[in-house]
Symmetry: C2
Subunit: 194 residues, 2 copies
């Protein structure tokens, strides 16, 4: 059975846990205040706001060193809502990979609003199945996450190498600006259609 440890207990953490448990995976949570937990999962999902990642790496660097780590963050400047806070051309996922060079970092879930993970559809009156886009350099890790997501009833697409995390974060950023400006609802967004 696939096992996951999810950092965070917010909307996204809850929604991701729902998908994975629906697919038969074992899920444990670590709350953000906990600095000394034992990480049991094969795969670790950082379902926390971007600024919390630095502290998690500081507290759990040894345990995370060789794990599959899923970064779901959208590193927005939430004051201006007009730029990202990672270096231009880079991504939160690439920065995390730099901090933990032996880990297998994946970018995923950052283009999915929590409601679309819970409902399985993008948009309230939509037939578009929610697709989790996964970028990363380790094919086996991407494939395993994709299998856990599809077992939970969603679609998963390999979006390419970890370099594509830049484009996934751009897409997440754009989608957040559209929802914040009420062009779309928080139950909608970009759905992938074939």
């Amino acid at each position: 059975m696939a096992s996951f440890t999810i950092f965070g207990t917010g909307n996204m953490a809850t929604a991701i846990a729902g998908v994975l448990t629906a697919g038969g995976a074992e899920v444990a949570h670590v709350s953000s205040g906990d600095t000394t937990a034992t990480i049991s999962g094969e795969t670790v999902i950082l379902a926390v706001p971007y600024p919390a990642i630095t502290e998690i790496v500081a507290n759990y660097g040894d345990q995370l060193a060789e794990k599959v780590i899923v970064d779901i963050t959208n590193p927005l400047n939430f004051e201006t809502f007009d730029e990202l806070v990672v270096p231009v051309g880079s991504s939160a996922a690439a920065e995390l990979q730099r901090a933990l060079p032996a880990a297998k970092v994946l970018k995923a879930f950052n283009t999915n609003f929590a409601a679309t993970l819970a409902s399985g559809k993008v948009g309230e009156a939509s037939e578009t199945v929610t697709t989790v886009l996964i970028a990363g350099d380790d094919a086996a890790a991407k494939s395993a996450l994709g299998a856990a997501v599809t077992a939970g009833g969603l679609a998963a697409v390999d979006a390419g190498s970890l370099k594509r995390a830049h484009e996934l974060e751009s897409l997440g950023f754009l989608q957040l600006t559209l929802a914040a400006s009420e062009k779309i609802s928080w139950a909608g967004g970009f759905g992938l259609n074939n």
Copy 2:
């Protein structure tokens, strides 16, 4: 009646012209070999590959100087399919705006495959209406283009300032890589659901 001059005669030029004429607009074409045409349209759409823009600016800079110009390009490195050829963090649209500072540059149509403009749907078995995302700094120009697009049967969404062209080009890039790697069809892509 809104009037458009479209540079280019390829799939995208044809599909965009189809949408605009369906909405009652007047559309003239300039083929890429023509270097001395008179631009009659109020709005100019550069439906050409990104490398052709430099020559159009060189040949038509005077006529384009104060026009509304719609840039639809995805400035990919089509040899590597792994990066854009514009400066990191910038966009083709921002570069065009720099070259023609008095023009009103809009980014639009770069996230729409031609087939989705022609069919009005994203995906072959989909009910998702094709949405044209429009970024730019001139609200009136964005609004006029959006009205022409919706008159032609599609949806249009104001995606923010011209700075958001970076995110639209990231989205176009990602979508092209997904189609080129057969994760989606050329009749599909990212549809915007509410």
